[in-house]
Symmetry: C2
Subunit: 525 residues, 2 copies
């Protein structure tokens, strides 16, 4: 990879001034060489990109070997020109241009929050159906490729992973994000670009699979081994600015300040605000930005720099629709990034059945929120939580049961006219609206052999159902993965007393399989 990158840079450096083409939300990159006195990582380099009346200033960065890079993600088609600015003469006043072309197929741009929902920049709704593998990028040879393959096969469209290496039961041998001093200690003033390039390369591989990379910038699973969990404030801020300069132009990046921020005992609690503001200020693209804590610690997600809630808590997803309360409180997108995992650990956070894991994901969805998958099945069955042979730690192949149902989940979501919400909020927590004339009703663990057609008259802020309208019902078995359209067409009669519900004019019902995890899709025809 390093070799390939060098070749690309050589080409850029030696290229005549012909118009380069970069697709919308793709990445433009230009390299300059300069020899400076002192620490090259201290050099300030910016570039202002202009297209018509629109302009964006980005920060360049030192990439090692006397080379400085400027990266830019254009969000508008047409001709962009740019000029650099630096106190270093060789980096100042450099000009250039490129043409931004239409996005290629599958490129919807970066995801951002749209009220309590997520949207790609091109207006397509984004439904996070994510999994977790902390160290897949830093796992031994062979694992990353297997992880990319298993992700592609399973249909996940988001992965949570750690930027720094994890101190678990395997011998991580580098690279590391910082250079070492002669005495073996870290030189926090000098980054190791190789480390960043590896993460960048895998982030691009995810992008090519249509997968968002929820990159965790700090984590406590270092335990002081390397000390990346206890660096001084100025080092932390320097690191955040550097990674924002390097990776802000990656359209599929989300910033997660931490996994279990409150586990980083050497970082003062008030520093997280500084980190959040630093990343928000350093990222001209406004990528999604949140922070994840211990079970139910709930960071003040109402802070302006927090774009969405990244929560560890299982209580709100232990029944259908309960999580609606969390959505109602924050009025931002809510992702339960830890709801316990499918696994065989002794630790209670890692010993759910696949059924329970899937159930919690659907419980979250019905409330207009999202729960993130993970599995930690140790193949040797030793029950240890720090084990490095499970997907949560290393990636590789899935061995559980839940992941097999993810493609169906995602296809159901992506077939909806609008992201879900509780149609009659707080009154019916099993019944989700999905825009005009489309609903999902989830029975969870309740096994029924019949459902008498009965829908709320309310539909949040969307078109309400009306007497005489006709509906069709699909019976979806979320576990056994079947979809059956019920042959009867229902017709709404008069609303019930108090105007709360509509039933069918003939009070007809749907015969259900007497099984758990049944979902109904109810659509106006």
């Amino acid at each position: 990879m390093k070799k390939v990158l060098s070749v690309i840079i050589m080409v850029v450096l030696t290229m005549p001034a012909i118009a380069q083409e970069i697709e919308k939300w793709g990445r433009f990159e230009v390299a300059y060489e300069a020899n400076v006195k002192g620490n090259p990582f201290d050099v300030v380099l910016t570039a202002t990109f202009t297209n018509g009346g629109q302009s964006t200033t980005v920060t360049g960065f030192y990439d090692g070997d006397g080379r400085y890079l400027v990266r830019f993600m254009p969000d508008k088609e047409g001709r962009w020109t740019f000029t650099t600015r630096s106190k270093v003469g060789a980096l100042n006043g450099k000009k250039g241009s490129f043409t931004c072309t239409a996005p290629s197929e599958g490129n919807h741009g970066p995801v951002s929050a749209a009220g309590p929902d997520f949207k790609y920049a091109d207006g397509t709704w984004y439904y996070p159906v994510g999994t977790t593998s902390y160290s897949w990028m830093h796992a031994p040879k062979g694992y990353p490729e297997r992880t990319l393959k298993s992700l592609e096969e399973s249909g996940f469209n988001k992965i949570r992973c750690l930027f720094f290496p994890q101190n678990i039961s395997y011998d991580y041998e580098g690279p590391y994000p910082f250079e070492r001093k002669a005495d073996g200690s870290w030189n926090f003033e000098r980054f190791n670009p190789d480390y960043f390039r590896e993460v960048e390369s895998y982030t691009d591989r995810l992008r090519d699979l249509g997968i968002e990379c929820d990159l965790i910038l700090f984590h406590p699973y270092d335990g002081g081994k390397w000390g990346f969990d206890r660096m001084p404030l100025e080092v932390n801020l320097r690191y955040l600015r550097y990674i924002a300069a390097r990776m802000g132009s990656f359209r599929n990046v989300w910033w997660s300040l931490a996994n279990e921020w409150d586990g980083l005992k050497r970082i003062p609690a008030e520093d997280w605000e500084k980190f959040g503001e630093c990343v928000a200020d350093s990222d001209p693209y406004g990528h999604l930005l949140s922070v994840h804590g211990y079970t139910a610690t709930y960071y003040p997600y109402w802070k302006p720099w927090v774009t969405h809630c990244s929560i560890q808590d299982q209580a709100p997803v232990e029944g259908p629709g309960r999580a609606g309360t969390v959505r109602n409180i924050y009025k931002k997108p809510v992702v339960f990034d830890e709801v316990c995992y499918e696994g065989n650990l002794v630790a209670r956070w890692g010993n759910l059945s696949g059924e329970e894991e899937l159930y919690r994901m659907w419980n979250a969805l019905i409330a207009g929120t999202y729960a993130t998958h993970a599995e930690c099945l140790n193949l040797d069955g030793n029950g240890k939580s720090e084990q490095s042979t499970n997907y949560l730690a290393f990636g590789g192949d899935f061995h559980g049961e839940c992941w097999k149902r993810i493609k169906l989940m995602r296809s159901i979501l992506e077939g909806l006219p609008h992201p879900l919400y509780l149609a009659d909020k707080s009154w019916d927590t099993s019944f989700a609206g999905a825009g005009d004339g489309c609903y999902l009703l989830y029975f969870g663990k309740e096994m029924k052999d019949e459902w008498v057609f009965d829908i709320p008259t309310k539909n949040l802020d969307f078109a309400r159902p009306q007497k005489g309208e006709k509906f069709q019902v699909d019976i979806i078995d979320t576990w056994d993965m079947t979809i059956t359209t019920w042959p009867v067409t229902f017709e709404l009669g008069e609303p019930t007393p108090g105007n709360y519900r509509f039933m069918d004019v003939q009070h007809r019902s749907v015969r259900l399989p007497l099984k758990p995890y049944i979902l109904l899709r109810i659509r106006k025809i």
Copy 2:
């Protein structure tokens, strides 16, 4: 009442300078006469009260008939002196003093937030076990006395009620909070002190019963009849400053900016922030202050002026302990001031059984939150929600079933060493801790004939149970109101794998009545 008050004032005015005695958190009042040009309500009068190194400045107010009052609630025993300040000569530089004595029995001072819990000023925990009667202070003759009697008999220690009259199906004939102009319209520049005195008098009656008055300052149930739901901003702020000056010295007052604030369509949403800040700034005592909205609308309760969450939402209290999520998010006391009511209305918010009402209150309690009672049983059974014959509207006598179980609930709570919280938060939502060595376990609607002794090893930030400790269990039937101590003493064995739970050394169990609404009190002996 008016007559009595006049006599008191005469006494104060004519009294020689002998030392008056006021108990701690009682109310000192002094009156001055002055004739001013223009609107006497515009006169600015303050008084600074000093006791040793401590001083508080309060605002006086015009009380009609050329009389200005200064009220003050002392929070420190000993000699207080004061000096007034005003541009009106007759009100300026007046001095006086009084002696603050020890509080009388039952006077614990005002309630405030202590983290996510409530505490009286004397350090006693306060557990809000409240009910609701919007217009009991403005109900026809006879009702208020019956309401005070029913409150005393039932054991509620808080009531939510409206300051302004309510436009429902009865002919309210005054008084009104403002004077009228010659054309019959309101003169918003002149308050009617008689109206305020009536509210004050009833607030004192509540105080004498040990009941907190959660006074609702705005409400939408005017519907434009009198227009108190659509006054201009400056009138609203003037009203808030006036009531804070009059009633801040009432130790049992809580400020509730509104019931269903988002129903007040003529008040711009941003004004609620102004109201909140105005009350916080105008009340030198920092009384509890919140605002209540429609179902699940969730005001940003994280704002600094909000002391606690006053929420309308039933979803978080539909199962034991779920509401813990709301407590975990806000980290302030949480009161669900509307969780639907015991009643026989067609409206779904007013047709719960008494059992369901009580169940929701216990569900909230187990989570370390509180749910407020109300009943709206129309004796004529006509199902109309605006009916003025039910307790919710008018007070009077209770006719439901839930209220009978309130005294038991309150005695259980007041017997705890500490307010409740989920001992093993988000992992066991039925199991509340109550400080060191005391727990409540609520089964809700689950009917069990046996409970195998099994408690979490965690206890939030309190002392954790230890192997070898002995526990006693009381079986409390919250509906049939029995308390039975189980004869076996349990002894903690080794913790279970993962160190999550303790069971009895012999795995002994408690025989339970096969009934719903059973609560266990588990205490270390």
